[in-house]
Symmetry: D2
Subunit: 369 residues, 4 copies
Amino acid sequence: MPGSVFGNCFRIMTWGESHGKALGVVVDGCPSGLPLCQEDIQVYLDRRKPGQSKFTTQRQEGDLVEILSGVFEGKTTGCPIALEVRNTDQRSRDYSKIKDLYRPGHADFTYDAKYGFRDYRGGGRSSGRETIGRVAAGAIAAKILAQLGIQVQAYTYSIGGICISRDRFCWEETEKNRLYMPDKEAVREAEQLLEQAMESRDSVGGVVECVISGLPAGIGEPVFDKLDAVLGKAILSVGAVKGFEVGDGFEAARAWGKGNNDAFCLDEAGRIRKETNHAGGVLGGISDGSPLIFRAAIKPTPSIASAQRSVGREKQEVTLEIQGRHDPVIVPRAVVVVEAMAALTLLDLMMTGMSARMEWLHRIYGMEE
Amino acid sequence: MPGSVFGNCFRIMTWGESHGKALGVVVDGCPSGLPLCQEDIQVYLDRRKPGQSKFTTQRQEGDLVEILSGVFEGKTTGCPIALEVRNTDQRSRDYSKIKDLYRPGHADFTYDAKYGFRDYRGGGRSSGRETIGRVAAGAIAAKILAQLGIQVQAYTYSIGGICISRDRFCWEETEKNRLYMPDKEAVREAEQLLEQAMESRDSVGGVVECVISGLPAGIGEPVFDKLDAVLGKAILSVGAVKGFEVGDGFEAARAWGKGNNDAFCLDEAGRIRKETNHAGGVLGGISDGSPLIFRAAIKPTPSIASAQRSVGREKQEVTLEIQGRHDPVIVPRAVVVVEAMAALTLLDLMMTGMSARMEWLHRIYGMEE
Amino acid sequence: MPGSVFGNCFRIMTWGESHGKALGVVVDGCPSGLPLCQEDIQVYLDRRKPGQSKFTTQRQEGDLVEILSGVFEGKTTGCPIALEVRNTDQRSRDYSKIKDLYRPGHADFTYDAKYGFRDYRGGGRSSGRETIGRVAAGAIAAKILAQLGIQVQAYTYSIGGICISRDRFCWEETEKNRLYMPDKEAVREAEQLLEQAMESRDSVGGVVECVISGLPAGIGEPVFDKLDAVLGKAILSVGAVKGFEVGDGFEAARAWGKGNNDAFCLDEAGRIRKETNHAGGVLGGISDGSPLIFRAAIKPTPSIASAQRSVGREKQEVTLEIQGRHDPVIVPRAVVVVEAMAALTLLDLMMTGMSARMEWLHRIYGMEE
Amino acid sequence: MPGSVFGNCFRIMTWGESHGKALGVVVDGCPSGLPLCQEDIQVYLDRRKPGQSKFTTQRQEGDLVEILSGVFEGKTTGCPIALEVRNTDQRSRDYSKIKDLYRPGHADFTYDAKYGFRDYRGGGRSSGRETIGRVAAGAIAAKILAQLGIQVQAYTYSIGGICISRDRFCWEETEKNRLYMPDKEAVREAEQLLEQAMESRDSVGGVVECVISGLPAGIGEPVFDKLDAVLGKAILSVGAVKGFEVGDGFEAARAWGKGNNDAFCLDEAGRIRKETNHAGGVLGGISDGSPLIFRAAIKPTPSIASAQRSVGREKQEVTLEIQGRHDPVIVPRAVVVVEAMAALTLLDLMMTGMSARMEWLHRIYGMEE
C-alpha cells in the first residue's frame, strides 16, 4: 500500500508538493457533531508557518486553509473533510540549479531511485511543506481530544547540545519564545548556538519532547499496534526525525529492573496509580493512566550554505552550495508537527478501542446483556 | 482495527498466550515457489528459545513448529501458511498467586483496564512467548530476502552500561557466546554485570543493533510508511522496547549539519554511493543503498525476585515477590525477534514497492509501452 | 494485499487446504467478555458438514473444532481467537488422476495461471472446505449479534428452477429438511429434480436468501463500504456464487419509481418505519431499520460424473470424468456459509460505526461535552 | 474504518457534497511515469455530466477538473494525485423545503440515523455528484489499463423492461445515442418508455453491462478478495445499484452443471481457452483470460415529481412532492461510473498480484534465484 494514508478509524490522506498548486489533506472518519471552523485549523498551521523569527525561513506564505467539505452549519457531518492550502509563493527558479544534483541529507537521490524521476522544485513531496496536511488534520484530532479531556503538548527539549533543565521547566515560557523551549535560560544559550551556526553557514539538530495528559488507561492495540509502536511510527514518519523514545527510553537500557519498574499505589481518591513514571505512561503497549511522555530526535537541517561534495543524475561529481536562506534549525517548527501526529495517533487508537468490550457494544447499541 | 496483524503485502496474524494450548501465526501473501520446510523456521525459533544459558529461563520448551498449510511438495503455494507451536510446559500453578495483583513493569494492570479481565497465566498474551509467531513468520521473510541478496543481522550492542567496541567488533564472536555480542571483551564484562544483577535479585536492560546489507535503494513509502517509520513501529511493538533510532539517531540531535550530512560520491564501479552513513541507510524514508542500521533500547526484565510494592484488582496495597526463575536480561533473546521484525518490514515494503513505476507494471504484465 | 483477511474491526484470517493437515481461522478484534465454548462453534460447523443426506457428499469428516487461544475461564479475552479443524479423511489418491488436468468450472487453471503451480489435492485452497474458517468465525459473530438482538437467518430460496412460494413460507420447515427450504412442497419438487440430476450424472444450481432482523438503522459506511456493498463482497467471495441482490434486486431494474420507493410512516409505537421494503433494508448504503434481505445465486456443482472436454498443463486435449461421489447441488450446504458471511459483515460494520458520533465517544470515554 | 477509501495498492479517497464548495478525490499509489493531463480526466467527467439530453437533469455544471499534485512535467511522479471539481451551480434554496423531511428512496433518514443530522442540500454526500471523484480517479486507472492492453467498456443493457438484443448488438451505436445502448431499436423503444415515465411524473430503472477485454489470467486474490467479489463491492457501492452478477449470474442458478461448465480447449495459437464463457471470465475468483462480463441492476430514480407519503424529523406525517426537474432514469449516467469502478478494481488487483510469485520478485529486484 502506498504511504499517504495514516490511521484506520480517524483516517487521513495527505497530498501536495512544495511548489505545486496546493497542499492538503482529507480526513475520513471524523465523528459527526464536532463544532469546527477554519480558525480551529488555522491556529495550528500558523504555528508551523515559516518566517516567525530570524531562525526560520523568511518565505512569506499565507498558508491559509480552506474547508471544502464535511462541515455543515458549523459542525462536522461525519463525511470526509477536505482541507486545502494553496501555494502562493512558489519561486521555482531558486531550484533550477539543483535540478539534476543530489543534495546531501535530502531525499533527491532516493526519490529518483524509487520513482525514476522527481519533482525537484523545493524538494517536491519530501519538502517540509508536506507537513501542512498533517498539522491541519492534527488540529481536528486535538480539538476532539480536548473535548475528551486530553491535552497534547510538545516543546523543544534541546537544540544542539543545549538541553532544558527540569528544575527551570516553565510551560508559559514555551509560548514566549520562538524556540518553543520551556526554559528561559536554555533559550538564551540556544540562541547563541544558533547565531554561531548561522555564521558558520551550518545548522544544528535537537530534540522535541511531548507530554499527553488526561489520557485514560486502556488505549493501544497489542501486539503490533501498541500505543508506543504506532506513536513511534507517526513521529518517525516526520521528515528529519532519526529517533524516538518513550518514558526513560534509551536510558532504560542502562537501568536496573528495581529502579526502572514503577510501583503501583493508590492515590488520595483511591484510584490505582504509579508512584513513578519511568515507563512514560505505557505498559505492554497500552496506556496506563499516567502522562504519556516521549521524545523525538531531529537531525540538523540538511540544507546548509556551505560547500558540499555530491554527484548528479549523470553521475558527475560536483561541489554544490545550496542557495537561499535556510533555517539553521528545524526543531521549533517541528513542535506543532509532533503534537499533530501524536493527536492523530491517540484519537485513532481511542476510536479503535471503542469495540474492545462486549459491554461497550451494549452501551452504544442499547440492548440488555 | 485490532492489533494482531502486521504488514500489508506480506501479512501476518499472530495468536496465542503464554499458557494457552498453542501459539502461532498465519502468513498471508507469501509468494509462491519458495522452497520451505519446517527446519527453515525451527532454526529461528531455536534462537529465541529459553534455557540456553544460565542467564535465560530454564523452562524446557520444545517449541517445535508445525506447518499446517500453504506448502505443497516442498514449495510455498501462494496460499496462507499456518505455523503452530503447541505449548507443552504449562505450569499454571506458578502464577496463581499473582492472579489478582498488578506486577510492576508488566501489562497486568493495562490489560485489565482495556479488556475488563485478563488471562493472568504467565502474562497471557503480553508474555514474551508471544514473539514465537513473529519469529516463525520472520524466518520465512528472511529466507526470501536472502534469495534476493539481502542479509538481516542483529546482535547485542550493550547490556547495562557495557557496550561493544567498534574496534573490537567481530561478527563470528556473536555466534560463539550466548549474549550474542560481537565483542569478546564486552561479553566478559557483561557476564560479570549479570552475575551481580542475579545476586541482587535484580535485572538489567540493554540495546540491540541491527545491520541490513544488500538492500537496494528505493524501498519505503513516503510519507507515512517511510522505511524507518514502519521499521520503528515493528521494533517498538516488541515487548520491553522503549526506544528506536536509525543511523546516528539521538546523536544526530547533537550534531551539526555539515558533519551529519553524508556526501554523495561514486564508487570504483561508478555507482552512486555515500561517503559516510550517518543517515543509517535511509533518506526521506526511502532506502539509499547504504547498509541500513538501527538500534532498539530494551528495558530491564520487569520480573525480579526482589520485593516490590504494588496493588491488586480489589485496590488493596501489597508487597509482592515474583517467584520462579527469571532472566536477569532479555536482550540476547530479543536479538532474533529484532531480526524477524526487520525482515518482515523490509520484505513487506519491497513487495509494496513493486507497483511504484509504470515500467515495472509492464515488466510483469508483459506489454509494450 | 493478499486475500485471506476479511473485516477491519472484527477481523478474520482463514487458512488451509482441502487435503492439508488442517484448516482454520484466527479472529482478531473479538470483544472481551463474550461467553464462548467449542460447542457454540461446532453447531455451525455441523450444519455445513457433508454426509447429511443423499444429496451431499458422503465423506465422513468429523470437522471437530478446537479453540487454541483467546478464551479464558469461558470468556473471550479480547485477544485473537485461533480455531482449528484437523483433516482426518484425506484420500489424496482420489485426485492423482486430475493432477495435471484442468477441470471445467473449477479453479485449477486459474490457480496455475496465478501462482505457477497448485496443490491439486481436492481443489486445494479453492475447495469448499475452505469455508470451514468462515463458518467457525461466523458462529462467533452470530453469537455477538444475537446478544445485541439481531438474528441472521438464511435458507434455500430455489433449486434449479424450483422456487419457494411466499404463501407457503414456514420457518420451521427449514430445519426439518436437508435442503433447508422453508416450503414443504418446494422441497418435494426439488428432491425430484435432484434425483433426475443424479441419474443424468449432472448437477443443478440455486439461490440462497437471507433475512436479518433486529438490525438498528445507521449501519454501513458510505461511500465505498456501504452495507450492501460490503455484504455483496462477502457473499460473492463464497465459491460458486455468481450473483448478489438486495431487496427487489434485479427486479428493481424493471420497476418504476413510484412503485419501488418505500413510503415512510409511523408505527404504533410512533417510530419511523417504511410501509414496504423494496429496498431490502438499506438506503444509501446504510441500514434503515427494516429487515435486511438479500439473495445469492449459486451455480451448479462443477464436479459432475459426465464426460467433459478439457485440456491439461501440457496443453494436451483430453476427455475427463470426475470420479468419486459429488453433491448434485451445493446450495443447501451454502446456507450456513451465507449466514456466517452476513454475520461477519454486520458485526464488523457495527463495530466500525461505534465511532461515528461525538456523543458516542463521550458515552464510552465518559467525559462531559 | 470509515468508507471513503477504495483500493489498497491503487488507493483513492473521495470527498465532497452535492452543494459544498467542491468535490474531489486523492489517488495514492499511481505508478510514476504515466503521461497525464487534465484532458485525460475531463473526457470521463464529461460523460457523467448532466444536461446532455432531455432525459438527464438540466443543471449546467461545468464540472471542470483541476490536477493539484502528483503530476510534474506531464507525467505522474508516484506521489498522491489530488483532483478537484469546484461546485459552481449550487441552488441551495431548491432544497430548503425538504430540509426536515425524509424523501422515500433516498438516504435522508439513514444519514440522520447514523450521524444525528445531515447536510440536506441536494442529498449532501449521498448525492449522485459523489461519483465525480470515482470517475476522475477511474479515468487514470483506465488509462493505465489501456497501456497494458486492457479495455473496460460498459453500456446500457436495459431500461425498464426494454432490453438490448444480442443479435443487434453494435458497439458504435453506444456512442451515438444518449442512452448508451448498443442497439438502435432498443434505444427507440426505451425513449418511448422514458417519455411515458416523464408524463406520469415517474421514473424507471435498468441494467448496465460491462465487458473487460485483454485482461490476463491470474488476477484476483482468493479467498475474500476474489476478482468478482471486489468488483461486486465496487459496483454495489455506486448509489442506486441493487444487484450484481457475473457471467450468467442468476441464470446460472437455474442451469445444470453440464451446460454451465465451460470446457477448456486450445485456440489456433495453441493457448488454453474456454469454449464458452458462462463463468464470465472468472474461476475461483481469479480471471481466466476470457472477457470479464458483469451486470449491475439500477433502481428507478427515487426523486419523482409525483406526490409521496413520508414523515419528517419531528415524526410528523406529510405528503411531499419533489420539485425541480429530475432524470426519469439514472442508468445512462451510471455507465461511466461503472466503467470507472471496474477500472479501479482491476488495476488495484493487478498491482496487488505483482508480488504473487517468487520469480516476479526476482524480475523486479534483479537478482538470480
